[in-house]
Symmetry: C2
Subunit: 439 residues, 2 copies
């Protein structure tokens, strides 16, 4: 393959053929195409984009670079959910058991958090003993037995993505919709799923801060899934403030369990209900969103969703008693409160700053090799739209390392805005992007 000619073709706005895309990805993954040519091509893709066919081919080339799981021995529909990342986004812990209890299989393979956003694996590992490191046989067994299993994204899935992502990170080529699409979808399609619900976050705490970018990404993800014969729905959801009340790993486990028990905060409960309903629709458990929502309500009210979570935690080495007695989860030593400086209505809890404050406390990672503290984080007692009096608690801060506390408190204070006038909470689900057959 003539790599400079291929770079020139994309640079000049022409589409790359399937063969060219596969040659490039295979050559790069094998180390035959050097990083400097790959980064030039990535920058050309950043500027010129890729059409749907190219994006689907890129996704497939990256998918084929590694292992693809096969759960065809299990008869039920396999459906997963993926979020583009946010602050306080613990929906996976709730909707995976809820959807499993309602009749789909959820083979969920997740990553860790980086920067201001959390990761599902970090949250689950706050449960004493829990491990996502399962062999394929064990993963298959847990999935068959519980209807869900939580695995870790390892080198065996889409290794081309790992190599490309590392290069994108250091060459300012992260923010490209076809590249983001191929990165997400190559890993998700490796799970051997039939359907996928995408939670594309938008707002200050999200990767896609503008709704038009979120919409473009959602559309690209859905069409790439369809091109691979999968059923895919995307919801564009709010990330201007943290989702739910808790930010931090053990704190989010507690909030997830409360939500599974029907006692979760309104926004988190509502979003989990919507995401689960779409999973059930894609898994053909129901024919309508309304029926699917009722199913969600029923597995929550009947305790079956919580039961599935408790079972999978036990199967993966975790202590299910910690889901009843939260004192068995990691506990922070210090508790501080950020109070409202004046009377009014909460008009902003800037999500990114809250995520960074949580990271500063130790709940997240600034670098991928950092160690996190599962106990620390934030719990909001007020959300956007709530009325507050001066001196009333807005946020409780749980910390262990007092040297970082002042900086986190400053950050949180700066991220709270209070309006004299009443404020409406932001709408939770902004748009839905459905594959054609369900529109």
């Amino acid at each position: 393959m003539d790599a400079p000619e291929l770079i020139r073709k994309k640079r000049d706005g022409f589409d790359l053929t399937r063969g060219e895309i596969f040659s490039f990805i295979e050559g790069f993954t094998r180390g035959e195409i050097p990083d400097y040519q790959a980064s030039a091509l990535l920058m050309a893709i950043f500027f010129r984009g890729m059409d749907r066919r190219e994006t689907a081919d890129l996704t497939e080339a990256m998918l084929r670079s590694g292992r693809v799981l096969d759960f065809s021995a299990l008869p039920q529909a396999k459906v997963d959910k993926h979020s583009t990342g946010g602050v306080g986004d613990k929906t996976s812990l709730i909707i995976a058991p809820a959807a499993a209890a309602a009749g789909v299989l959820v083979p969920m393979i997740s990553g860790r958090g980086l920067g201001h956003t959390g990761g599902t694996l970090d949250k689950l590992e706050a449960i004493p003993g829990f491990s996502p490191r399962l062999s394929f046989q064990d993963f298959h067994r847990v999935l068959g037995k519980c209807g869900l299993a939580f695995g870790a994204a390892t080198e065996e899935f889409a290794p081309a993505d790992r190599k490309i992502y590392a290069l994108r990170d250091v060459t300012a080529t992260v923010e490209s919709i076809p590249l983001i699409t191929a990165s997400i979808m190559s890993k998700k399609l490796a799970e051997g799923i039939d359907g996928l619900v995408l939670d594309v976050k938008t707002g200050t705490g999200a990767f896609m801060q503008k709704v038009e970018n979120a919409r473009a990404l959602a559309s690209s993800l859905v069409s790439t899934g369809i091109a691979h014969g999968k059923r895919v729905h995307a919801l564009i959801t709010d990330m201007t403030q943290p989702l739910g009340n808790a930010v931090g790993n053990a704190l989010e486990v507690i909030e997830s369990v409360e939500t599974l028990k029907g006692r979760g905060p309104r926004d988190l409960s509502d979003l989990c209900r919507e995401l689960t309903a779409h999973m059930l629709l894609l898994g053909r458990v129901t024919d309508s969103l309304d029926d699917a929502r009722s199913k969600y309500d029923s597995v929550i009210a009947g305790g079956r969703a919580f039961e599935r979570f408790s079972n999978v935690v036990a199967e993966q080495g975790g202590n299910p008693r910690s889901l009843e007695d939260y004192s068995l989860l990691p506990q922070a030593r210090h508790e501080d409160a950020v109070v409202a400086p004046k009377d009014g209505f909460i008009s902003g809890l800037e999500a990114r700053a809250m995520g960074v404050a949580s990271m500063i406390l130790g709940a997240g990672r600034e670098r991928s090799d950092a160690i996190i503290d599962p106990a620390v984080g934030l719990v909001f007692e007020k959300k956007i739209g709530d009325e507050v009096q001066a001196g009333e608690r807005v946020c409780v801060v749980y910390s262990n390392d007092s040297s970082r506390l002042a900086q986190a408190l400053d950050m949180i204070r700066g991220a709270i805005t209070i309006s004299a006038e009443p404020v409406s909470p932001p709408p939770l689900v902004l748009e839905r992007v459905l594959d054609t057959q369900d529109q």
Copy 2:
């Protein structure tokens, strides 16, 4: 320096500061910034461009990466000429001695040919014994004695350019006006010159095939020169057909000598007169182009231009007798003719194809490490606009390797077009881009 942040800045259309540009070039030249970040930045520059200030800073950063010559001990103005490259472009061999004879110093440092274009060093080295590898002391001495000297571009001049050019070549980032500008000007400014005439070629045989691109490059080169306190003029000249009649190293030496003796082909003689006139204007030898043209005519007619060339050849180890007795120059063994297939007027001698045909014969290099044959090449007996009869010779082909001859002949035949109607020769100088004080 935060390289990804700097790449992102350019990617998003912001100007880089002088400090950022210097940090990047210095870091890359020292090997601290890896190739993959440099190629991503180069591609971002390809798409976003650089303004005049950025281009001047990039040029200076590359210039400062190596040695800058200093001829301030010699009182006369130092003026050079640079061509962006063409087929049959041997003007350097003529105008350097002509300008020197008329009173400016010409410290000319040249490169070798690549692809379909020739290089001044290759042409000069066709003269038995001639060497461009001079120490600075010898270069200075020859320049002082003859008014001109021919040197070779070595690693000591603008090493950053060498490293960047190698990367651009394999990452499809060659065709960028600020990058081309910095590459040319960093090497030319290293010559310690006061003025520079640029011959920006346009047409099928040129790097800039479209006149609007040639104009943009000319403007960028001139403004970068001005930013460095130099006087710079650029001429945009035709490269739709080879310049002069000869293409090939020894053949071009003969044609250059004939031109110095006042017997050169019309187009070559005219262009040399124009380029030299601009050099004399920049060197303040005359105040007007017309006076400068008369000076050129006088140094040619009086034999002083040829005498300078003969002197510099002798000073640099070449045999000056070969400039009188051309049989002392390398001779090709075979001579073949390409004749007109029909009566009419020559309407095209496609320059790039003629350059490639000459390269196939061995006069040029497909790769930078190839060995060339100084004897072979083409001599045109007809140029665009000339009337021909069927069977009349259009081009004489001089070759040594008969295995490549058929391919070259095919290429030449395919590059000749004949019109039934009379055709005007293309205008030679299309536009002039002068620095403000001379406009």
